[in-house]
């Protein structure tokens, strides 16, 4: 009997591995509705949130590697196989494709459960010329995740730092809310959470979607008055909680013009490496020496 048990467990382990290949990622939770019918077979298949790279999500058949989302997901998988200090996350935004729809702005707000007054990724509209010779560009502005982030050294309490993979993060429990880093950022990419709620403008009662925990930094905080992140500085973190699970940042997924790309700059085969090295790539305020890891294509 004992031996039989062992065999069974082993068999299940294999089966588990097999099933997990099909699960997870962005589309992972797909299987959850099925749990109700198939029940515990899926238990094993469900992804382990936050526990290392998740396998490739399920994608439509016949993509032939041509769908940029598919390619980026593969890039992400490869990067997640490496130790964290060998990854260098970067974003490329093709301004020729940005149609000015603000999907990224709102997708980010919804993903990170941002309160009124905070947008990690606003889209700047820049209009030039006089009638009839006019031009207009839309410039989404996430955090640049600078190689030399000016916001980091000024923090008096070491609440913000650059991770080995290049993402500048904030420890909400450490941040005292002095806002020095906001003044230090040349891109205005940091926001102060003053403590507003949608309910302040919408009927006075907490809105259901703002009572949900924010997935930021995998901490699942429920935002409440007077507790972090209220009173903290907040910023775009490339949806760190998503990329660590093998998912693309919210803005990349939603983008209507497919103008935003994400991946590992250290991987010469990645889509972002390819795009960022194009001659038409530039970065904002290069003269400041901040070395942003957000590249724009024109």
């Amino acid at each position: 009997m004992a031996q039989e048990t062992q065999t069974r467990i082993r068999a299940l382990a294999t089966r588990r591995a097999f099933l997990t290949r099909f699960a997870s990622g962005i589309f992972a939770s797909l299987i959850v509705p099925a749990v109700a019918s198939g029940v515990l077979d899926q238990v094993e298949a469900a992804p382990q949130e936050g526990a290392g790279p998740a396998p490739m999500p399920e994608l439509p058949e016949g993509m032939n590697g041509q769908h940029p989302i598919e390619r980026m997901l593969q890039d992400l998988q490869r990067a997640l196989q490496k130790p964290v200090d060998q990854r260098r996350w970067a974003m490329v935004i093709d301004l020729r494709k940005c149609v000015g729809c603000y999907a990224c702005t709102v997708a980010c707000i919804a993903e990170n459960k941002l309160p009124p007054g905070i947008a990690y990724r606003p889209v700047i509209t820049e209009t030039r010329g006089t009638y009839p010779n006019v031009s207009r560009r839309f410039i989404p502005r996430p955090c640049m995740q600078c190689e030399n982030p000016p916001c980091v050294p000024v923090c008096p309490v070491r609440a913000t730092w650059k991770r080995p993979d290049g993402i500048v993060v904030i420890n909400y429990d450490q941040c005292i809310g002095c806002r020095y880093c906001i003044t230090a950022c040349p891109y205005a990419a940091r926001s102060f959470d003053s403590g507003y709620f949608y309910s302040d403008f919408e009927g006075g009662l907490p809105q259901p979607y703002e009572s949900l925990p924010s997935p930021e930094y995998g901490e699942n905080r429920v935002r409440r008055k007077d507790t972090s992140p209220v009173g903290n500085v907040r910023k775009c973190h490339f949806c760190l909680h998503r990329i660590e699970r093998g998912q693309l940042p919210a803005c990349v997924l939603s983008c209507m013009g497919r103008a935003t790309y994400f991946g590992d700059l250290n991987d010469p085969q990645s889509l972002v490496s390819e795009l960022a090295s194009r001659p038409n790539a530039f970065r904002l305020k290069e003269e400041l020496g901040t070395e942003p890891k957000v590249f724009y294509l024109v």
């Binding site: 048990t5 749990v35 109700a36 029940v39 515990l40 238990v43 469900a46 526990a51």
Partner: protein, 212 residues
């Protein structure tokens, strides 16, 4: 047959109670009152438990001591030697993992909710065993044979695909972590009881499938 079904319900109710903190006089008395044949696979475990309960100490002190040991083993604070949660064994040491979610979904599918609500993760050993008791009761009370089979089949699936994947690991951990005969006995008793039931259900349902 009816008898057996009722016995299963009793068995799982007992097991549930044994893993529900704190232990009560009621459950202690229940263990004391239980008898099995000497050659039963359950005998060794039961004997150990009973031996501990027979110790000539004050009733209150005994139960106090058992609860202290149970706290150390399974309740905390901090890291405990034998975490009583399926996720811990199935999902690389984490708690509240996917198993908890899926277990919860399963209970709800059977329109069952733990009396403790969802405060305690749904993959706690006591809750899973309690659910088996719940299904056993369902099987007992079912008037339609198909319904009875459905409940038994669900018990079997739950045991085979889930509980049995982690329970031996847990019992092992419990056994290794304690010197108290009550808990080493409990570990043995539980593992054997569940194994027996799994075996019994398999045989029963295979036969049933064969017949129909």
């Amino acid at each position: 047959m009816e008898e057996e079904l009722r016995a299963r319900e009793g068995l799982y109710s007992l097991l549930r109670a044994l893993f529900s903190y704190p232990l009560t006089y009621e459950v202690v008395d229940a263990i004391k009152s239980l008898t099995v044949m000497p050659d039963s696979p359950l005998a060794s475990g039961l004997e150990q438990m009973q031996s501990r309960l027979q110790e000539p100490v004050d009733r209150g002190a005994l139960i106090e001591a058992l609860n202290v040991e149970m706290t150390r083993l399974m309740e905390g604070p901090g890291r405990v030697p034998a975490p009583p949660f399926a996720s811990f064994y199935l999902h690389g040491g984490q708690l509240m993992g996917p198993a908890a979610t899926a277990a919860r979904q399963l209970y709800l599918k059977w329109q069952a909710i733990p009396e403790t609500g969802w405060q305690i993760p749904a993959d706690h050993i006591a809750i899973e065993l309690g659910f088996l008791a719940y299904l056993a009761r369902h099987a007992c009370e079912a008037t339609a044979p198909e319904e009875r089979i459905r409940a038994l089949q669900a018990s079997l699936d739950f045991l085979r695909h889930h509980v049995w994947n982690w329970l031996p690991g847990f019992c092992q951990a419990l056994k290794e972590a304690s010197t108290d005969p009550f808990f080493t006995g409990l570990a043995e008793f539980t593992q054997e009881a569940v194994r027996l039931d799994l075996q019994w259900l398999e045989e029963l349902l295979v036969e049933e499938a064969h017949r129909s």
